[in-house]
Every structure is written in C-alpha cells, then in structure tokens.
Subunit: 395 residues, 2 copies
Amino acid sequence: MWRRELAVSAPGKVILHGEHAVVLGKVALAVALDLRTFLRLRPGAEGRLSVSLPGVGVRRSWDTPGLRALRGRIAGKARGKEALPRGTEGLSCLNSPLLASIAGDDESKSPSVEQLDALREFAGIAAGASAPESLATLAFLYMCLAISAKYGDVPSVEIVVWSELPTGAGLGSSAAYAVCLAAALLMVCGAISCPLQEGESTARWTEEELTLINSWAFRGERVIHGNPSGVDNAVGTWGRWSPEIPSRKNHTVKEFPAIMNPVLDSIDAISQECQSVLEAMPANPSPEHYPVLEEFFDINQHHLNVLGVGHPSLDRLCQVTASHSLHSKLTGAGGGGCGITLLPPDTSPLAVEAAKQDLCACGFECWETKIGAPGVTLHSCSSLSAQVLHALAQS
Amino acid sequence: MWRRELAVSAPGKVILHGEHAVVLGKVALAVALDLRTFLRLRPGAEGRLSVSLPGVGVRRSWDTPGLRALRGRIAGKARGKEALPRGTEGLSCLNSPLLASIAGDDESKSPSVEQLDALREFAGIAAGASAPESLATLAFLYMCLAISAKYGDVPSVEIVVWSELPTGAGLGSSAAYAVCLAAALLMVCGAISCPLQEGESTARWTEEELTLINSWAFRGERVIHGNPSGVDNAVGTWGRWSPEIPSRKNHTVKEFPAIMNPVLDSIDAISQECQSVLEAMPANPSPEHYPVLEEFFDINQHHLNVLGVGHPSLDRLCQVTASHSLHSKLTGAGGGGCGITLLPPDTSPLAVEAAKQDLCACGFECWETKIGAPGVTLHSCSSLSAQVLHALAQS
C-alpha cells in the first residue's frame, strides 16, 4: 500500500519551429515550457481510488473492488476492433532514441472501441463526449486499469491534478496530464522507483524509467487525442527541447508542389538551424544570441502564412509585438490559437508590461514563461510553491 | 530627308514574380504594362535636330553640322576606358531568342568614359549629374550619334517624348524611352523600315527589326542605368510577357543558405507556374482564372518579406487592398517603391474606386491599367488619343 505524500510535475511544450511542416514529413523543434501540470499523490482510504481535477471540475471516487471487476470485464475486449487510428507507422523508422519506446509499442495494447465503451458506461460518460473533463476522466480510468493490470493492483490513492497550462492552446496540457498520471501510477504500482530520498525537494527517474513513463503517457494521449504525434508526451517527459521530433506523413502538398515543397524545406532548415543555435547557447545567454532567433521567428511566420495556417488575429499579434520591437510567430495548430513572442534578456520589464497591455487590449491572454524547462519531476509536497499547493488543495 | 509625321510608343513593364530573385540567379516574370511612352517624330527645319521631353522639362535643339563634328571628335574616344560595367556576362548563356541580340552585342560599342564626358560637355551637363532630364538628354545624344554614325546621317527631325509611366517606380520608364528613341532613330536613318501604310493606324516591325531596336534600346538603357538587366527594354520592345528573363548572379545568399535558397526556389517556381497559367489563359479570361494568380501574389509577398525586401508601407498596401478582397504584392526593387494589385474581371468599379480612395488616403498614388500590352508600336499621329496628342503638343 502506498504510504507517502508526493507530487509529480511535467512541463507543457511549445513548438518553436516546424508546426504544420511536421505533419508533412519534416522535423519540428518543440521545447519544454515552464508552465507545468502538478499531480499530488496521497494514500487514500483503503479500497478507494479518487481523482480530482479542480481546473475542469472533476471529482470522482471509486471503490477498488469495483475497478478490479471492471478491469476483469474489459480484459476480454482487448482483441476487439481498434478504437484508435494506428498513427505510429511513421515513428518506427525514427532514429531518435527518445521515441524508441513508442516505436516499439505493441499496438494491440491500444484500447479497443469496446474497452472505451465499457469505461464510458462505468463512468457515466456519453458516447462521443469530447469535453476535457470527460476525456480526462476516461484517460485516467484507462491508464489506471491498464497499468495496474500489468504491474500490480488497483491502488488505494487520492490523486489531484492541476495545471498552469491553458487547455486547447496547443501547449501540450493533455500530454503533461498524461505524463504526470503515468509517472504516479507506475510508481504506485512499483513499475518504476520512487527516486525522492528523505529530505530532498525534487528527484527525477532513470532514462529507462522515463522511457516507460513516456510510453504510457503516449497511450493516455491516444485516449484523449486519438492520433497524437508523440511530441508532446516526449517533451513532457524529457523536458528541455526535443533533439528530433517524430514526423508522420499525413498529408501531401497537392497543389503546386514546386512552390510549396521548398517552403517546407526552408522551415525544416529553420528548425535545424534553431536547434544548433539553442545547443550552442550558454545557460545564461546574452542579448547578442537573440537576433538570429528573432529572424527565424519572422521568417517562419511568413512561411506559415504561405502554408495557409496563419490567421488575421496572429498577424495582429505580430504587429502589436513588433511595435514594441518584439518578434512573434504562431505556434501550434495555427488558424488562430496561440502565438509566441521572444523576450531577449535585455528587454525591460516595462517594455514587456507595455506589450502585454497592448495585447490584452486586443483581446489576447498572455503568459510570461521560460522555455527549456525540466521534464517530468518528482517533488516533495513541502517544496511546492504556495500557489500550487493552494490550487491542489481546492479539490 | 524624313518627310512624315509619325508616333512610336512602347510599354512599361511590371514584374509579376521573381524581382530580387532575378539578381540571385533565378528567372523573373515581367509583363508589359499598358502605361506607355509616346514619341512624336516630325520633319524638322533643315539642319536642326531637336528633342523635347515635356514631362521632365527638357527642350533642346542643335544644328546638325555641330552634332556631326561632335560625332567625329568622339569617334576616336571609343577605345578608351569603358564607361560602363560589362553586365552582360550572364546573358550570353541564355537560351532565350529574345535576348540573342544583347548577348551578341559587341561590348566595345559601349560608350567610353571619354565619349560620355564629351557628350556631357557638349550638352552642358555636369559630371555626375543623375537627374532624369540630364540622363535622358545624354542618352538621346549618344543614341542619335551612334545610330547615325552606323546607319546614316544626323537627321533633321523634331522629337517629342511623353510618358504615362511614373519615373523611378521600377516600371521601366527609362527603357520605354530608350525603345521609342531606338525605333524612331533607326527608322529615320533607314536601318529599319517604316511599316505603317497610308491609312493604317498602327503597325509593328519584323522580328529582325525588333531585335535591332531592342539592341539599341539596351545601349541607351546603359547610358541611363549603367548596368541594366535587359529585361525592361525587352518587354518594352516585344510587349506581353517575357518568356524568360535574363538573370545575373550578382549576390549570393550568404547567411543561412539552407533556409534562404529554398525560398528562391519557391519564387522561381511561382514565376514559372504563373507563366504557365498566363499562357493557358484565354484572351478574355473569366473570374475563375484569378484565384490562383491571387494565391501566387500572396505567397510571393510573404517570400519577399522573408528575403528582407519588404517594407511597412507595402504591408500597409497589402492590408488596405485585402480589406477590399484584393490581393497585392510589391513589385520592382522593394523596400518601399511600388506594389501591384490584381483586379479580377468581376471586381466592381465601385470596389476598385473604394480601394483606390483608401490607398490615396494612406498616401499612395494609384494607376489603373492592364498587363500584357503590345510592344513597341508605330502609330499614325491621327490615331493617338486626345490626351496623348495634347501632352505631346505641350513641348
């Protein structure tokens, strides 16, 4: 039985370069974002498993015998029709060690349509429900039952998850959720160690353990997203920036390939050059490292408009920040959504504040953060900030 | 002695795609613009040669014996130091029949520094004077003396040249001037025919004659521009659009070639695709031919911004016209200068007027015109429009 109170956190991600191009067979450069999802793990009443997601209003509790029985019922449904698109074909040829565990994943372990139907029925979730709270509950149940079936018993624990990340902005909030859940459930079931020694504030897992966390996080992501690329959970697990990002050739540039393919080549080169620049930058880079990063932002923003994933609101965002001598580009899916603005270290706090005010006046929400954050991390609860502790206590 | 009163006209040009890329070794797609330069040719008083350029305030007249003597004096200066950069190296490898005459040009026929100095001294033009009126007078004298030295005597004629084209906007006004001068002077000296039959309004020259006109126009352009590409005089001579445009590798993409070279490849492909679309379009294209041309404009405008030749005023132009559902891009040198906006045939005159008003309110000047105009043309004076006749009569 689990006896300690601990916390797990995982970062969101932001794609610096290569969004959209990644689905056309190119690499993308994703970096960890220092906006994190936090999971608090506590021993629960014997025979109870509970999960609270204060951000989306979920508060559920089940008795473990009922979950064990559910697990038995759905075990026979694993060979049914696959619920989710395969989606990992492109991954198997990747040379990135980062993704070996995904590539080697046995696809028969994906939840079947029948399994997910049974989980929905158990949790009282309507078929086709796609609200974050429904998908988050479904992913929790799936991961809890699948991990406990493989590594141990259904645990009697209380889990609370809260995130600094906005949802639906392409910042990897669902992956950070799945990474935290995978780490906590694998640890509780004894599949990975509890690396935090008495008196330590934080600890991380071994490379082998991280690979296992990432693999299970990817399965959770598949419950939520159907056909995720595997980028978000990899960044959530390993943090910093991804050395190489998986690509899947989902689409082809049908119209005018002679015009469009070179644009993808240029985006690809930007991702690679940017990675070289980031790798060459010291831990505390000075302002002179930034003009080239700004130029990459500007060029890529034009390219994304060429690819048709721009949006007038993103043009507006770029104009507003340009009027403060700051450089922006869209990030994520495009077509609205989210933009990123680079803040060189010599940007005055007043200038940042002024840019934020102008952006807010145009209806944008702003988060000021850092990139290159650490991946999934185990924390002693006492080392968490008051804000995080307060948020987790609201469950 | 020349006995007829005639007019010659030549169109300006606009680069649809490939400006800037052309100096980096790619093709550009230049099309004739239906804004024309008009030259009126009249018999002059015996022994007098005069030229008037009412648009730039030039009104000069010389006695032909004096010009003959000048011609004799400068003939010996032809072997001096070359006044102008060679500039035609890249042309000699072109397979375009259009430019064969330029490629085959004997470079020793370029005016020498001493010749141009003598012409300046004769005309009272200060060394280094670069105002349009100085360069236009110098080009006139050079072309007149060089053509008459090769093909006949210094003619006793009155020449007036007036243009619908704005100067300095990258729209080929100096080339249209040189083409008109070359055609008129070659005709007066008997080097080419006078193809206009009695009772006809307009006539054009044979392909062989056009080649000669183009070759001399290029020399006149070299007096004005030093190192012109040959594009403008070719379009002014042949009209419509240039099947292939000369390229000269003046610069290289030094920084980030892996990022920038694909952008040039894409621009190159746009030029070629656009040419295919234009060639496939009927004489009176219907609206459905235009979306692809609009898309090419949008993509290329982004590319030009990537290459760093954009300008906030051109972004503004694109925004203003986009608010009227019209698509624009910069044309010519960029960095300010001139933009073009596509007007599909189903654009209502009211919409055009509204866009023009908004542009004027932002400080832009607008010219509404057509592309694909005929090249250098001989006119009976009676067939010219009242506006053109009036402008030519102001000399």
